[in-house]
């Protein structure tokens, strides 16, 4: 970990990342996390509970978005606090059998705040899918060197 608070400033961009999502990814996330709610893998069930279709786990979106911060920090252990609100569902269309993505999530981050006393940087993430913000107040606090 080599980030120093003296080399950082609020408003600085930390980069961006594009995450392509398929129904297979949601099945993998269900298995890895233990969240088997059928709204994340069964179209008929999802629409029966008044959703527009199969949606990604909010935790898939949150969990995949933070990798931008982890890679920037250089050590996943440096992320000491991470929070978000889930505002819009990420609709994942069925592209099974093709190479197309069922949804595309765009992530970018800027330094929102530096705390010299705690020696931390707060990274504010902007996370969108289909042109809409899907996470709000997505903030990760990184412990600096």
């Amino acid at each position: 970990m080599s980030l120093s608070i003296h080399e950082l400033s609020a408003g600085q961009e930390i980069g961006s990342r594009t995450i392509e999502v398929t129904r297979t990814d949601l099945v993998k996330y269900a298995g890895a996390s233990g969240d088997f709610n059928p709204i994340h893998w069964n179209e008929a069930f999802a629409t029966s509970v008044e959703l527009p279709g199969v949606i990604a786990h909010g935790m898939f979106t949150m969990g995949s978005s933070v990798q931008l911060v982890t890679d920037w920090a250089g050590d996943p252990a440096a992320v000491v606090d991470f929070q978000t609100r889930f505002t819009k569902p990420v609709l994942v269309t069925d592209t099974t059998g093709t190479s197309a993505a069922g949804a595309t999530i765009e992530v970018s981050g800027i330094i929102g705040k530096l705390d010299a006393e705690a020696n931390t940087a707060r990274v504010d993430l902007t996370v969108t899918a289909a042109g809409q913000k899907v996470l709000m107040k997505a903030q990760a606090v990184v412990k600096l060197a």
């Binding site: 890895a32 233990g34 909010g58 935790m59 898939f60 949150m62 995949s64 606090d81 929070q83």
Partner: protein, 153 residues
């Protein structure tokens, strides 16, 4: 739908122990499309000063949602899981989670409020690592709100 305000303040004590395995960290990291070597390669984790593989920042959701299941599956709570929407989530890490950790979670219901025909329920899990002598070291505090949608929501 009936809302159960008396759920507020309820706690569920630590139940089963969750053993954090290296392959589970690797599987979860792949599932969130994480590529940092500290999730996969023990030598890479050690080069950063860690004793073993480091879990991704949201790995604790596995343990937190197991704890939440005690509430959601509690017949007294009357929650229809198919109408649950995740509203917000936070992880405060007192220290990272490593492969080899033996974790337990205490669940606290911090808030219940009516929202339209449904309810917003806020829970918090205090996750501890068990030591050799069954001592408890604070590892992660997770908190989340779920919206249980009423009809037409």
């Amino acid at each position: 739908m009936t809302i159960y305000p008396d759920l507020q303040g309820r706690s569920y004590p630590a139940a089963e122990v969750y053993d954090v395995g290296r392959e589970k960290i690797r599987e979860f990291a792949r599932a969130v499309k994480a590529t940092h070597p500290a999730h996969f390669d023990v030598d890479a984790a050690k080069a950063l000063g860690h004793g073993d593989l480091v879990a991704p920042p949201t790995f604790a959701i596995i343990i937190a949602q197991r704890a939440d299941a005690q509430l959601i599956e509690d017949p007294e709570a009357g929650i229809d899981f198919s109408r649950v929407v995740h509203a917000d989530q936070r992880f405060i890490h007192h220290r990272p989670i490593f492969a080899g950790d033996r974790l337990v979670a205490e669940l606290h219901v911090d808030g219940v409020r009516a929202m339209g025909g449904g309810a917003m329920i806020t829970t918090r899990s205090e996750i501890f690592a068990l030591g050799a002598d069954d001592s408890r070291e604070p590892v992660t505090t997770t908190s989340s709100s779920i919206l249980v949608r009423g009809e037409g929501q």
